[in-house]
Amino acid sequence: MTEHFRRKVMKFVTCALIVFAAYIIQTTPGFFEFFGISPILVLPACICIAVFEGEFAGGLFGFIMGLFCDSASETVFGFNALVYLVLCVGAGLLTIYVFRRSTMNIMLLCLGAIFIRSALEFFFSFMLYNYEDLEGFFYTVIAPQIVLTSIFSLPFCVLFRKLHAFFEPDETKE
């Protein structure tokens, strides 16, 4: 086993532990709530992995953690897995071809991703069923959740940047 391979394994194990911890924190009732709203922590974490470790790793993490989120949510099983996969691959590719890896760009990517995910859920789980007072629901539940998740994408951005720098010092220097 080469040193490079060993470092890679360590890096992805650490990433997996962080994302899993984010999932546990996100899913535990009452643990991370602000005025009754819980941020979605798994998606920004996976987006950050996609940004720093590439679209394939991000997509893989997104898909697996999406399955975890599906098992804990009431959406159709597979919804989060598919959406997280697409969003993470998209974020990874955008970082490669369009954006730089600046903190602001990553936060914007997270905001866009969480907005798309929430909008899709809102459309498929609520709007299609034509529930009453959907506008109120969007402004009081969905929108604050998007804002809160965007704010919490900052610590993930910092964490994964440091992690990447620690395990890939040569690449970071370039």
Binding site: F31, F56, L60, F63, S71, F77, A81, L85
Partner: protein, 301 residues
């Protein structure tokens, strides 16, 4: 830098596409069957459940701890509210006990009414006792506003003689018991029909015993005989049970017998009584033959 075309041709892209197709298939299956893929969801649950359980228990402990400080004001108000509720509940319990007691009294009253239809009763509760009085006199919660008058007989709810109303206030009455030396009740032995006067005795009252005086020397009275009221004088109704004979001896003058009577009523501890406001043959006020209020009042002074 890789080109997009290179990515689209790479095995990464193929794997990601396969995952996407797999995801779509999962969704279609879940939407069609109305439930999640059992194997996958169970596998995910098996992995995450222990961590979630641990996390939940930690969260609950932390939340419980923080709740003491964060919601201190709310908890304080809640405690106040609960204290008020407790007070109301206690009041209700007191009302309930009172109602229960009244119910029991009324049942006894009904029995007494059936056997003595001429009696007019007033149920009463003992609300005070003079701790310095050696004859166990007490105060009840009924008075002239309830129609109670001086010299009305006082009995237990089961019809046993306790004493007599001595003083009457608007809402209370003082009762002297049959252990009191100032109370004299005409009584007779229900077996031998020998009559005498039941009254208290300074030395015997501490034992809760009274005396039946002026019995004929040739009386056949014996221990265990039952003494009841004679009704002479019209202060007490006839045949109210008083007590049983404990012992008999010749009086100091040697002319008559004196019997020690153990009252049926637990005079020292009684809490509920009935005042007989009227009965057939009742006289008004104190009669010389039944009581010696005036004389004893003079002696007490």
């Amino acid at each position: 830098m890789r080109t997009m075309q290179k990515f689209l041709k790479s095995w990464y892209f193929k794997v990601l596409c396969a995952l996407a197709v797999f995801g779509i298939a999962l969704m279609i299956r879940a939407a069609a069957s109305g439930s999640a893929d059992v194997f996958l969801s169970q596998a995910v649950s098996v992995i995450s459940q222990p961590f979630l359980n641990f996390s939940s228990s930690v969260t609950n402990s932390v939340n419980d701890f923080l709740d003491r400080f964060v919601n201190a004001e709310e908890n304080y108000l809640r405690v106040r509210e609960l204290e008020k509720e407790l007070l109301e509940a206690n009041k209700k319990i007191i009302d309930y006990d009172k109602t229960l007691r009244e119910n029991e009294q009324l049942r006894e009253l009904l029995k007494l009414k059936e056997t003595n239809p001429d009696y007019e009763f007033e149920p009463a509760a003992v609300i005070g006792r003079d701790s310095t009085n050696r004859f166990y006199s007490f105060t009840v919660d009924v008075g002239s506003l309830n129609g109670v008058e001086e010299a009305d007989p006082v009995i237990t709810p089961d019809g046993v003689l306790v004493g007599i109303v001595w003083e009457v206030g608007p809402t209370y009455s003082h009762v002297r018991t049959i252990l009191d030396i100032s109370v004299q009740v005409g009584g007779y032995d229900s077996s031998t029909r020998d009559s005498g006067i039941v009254t208290g005795d300074i030395t015997l009252s501490s034992e809760g015993v009274c005396k039946l005086k002026y019995l004929p020397k040739e009386s056949g009275i014996a221990s265990g005989n039952i003494i009841v009221t004679s009704g002479i004088g019209g202060v007490f109704p006839k045949d109210l049970p008083i007590g049983t004979v404990r012992s008999i001896e010749v009086d100091s003058s040697g002319l008559s017998l004196v019997a020690e009577i153990v009252p049926f009523a637990d005079v020292e501890n009684i809490t509920e009584v009935m005042v007989i406001k009227s009965f057939n043959g009742q006289s008004t006020g104190f009669s010389d033959s039944d009581t010696a209020k005036a004389e004893e009042d003079g002696e007490n002074e």
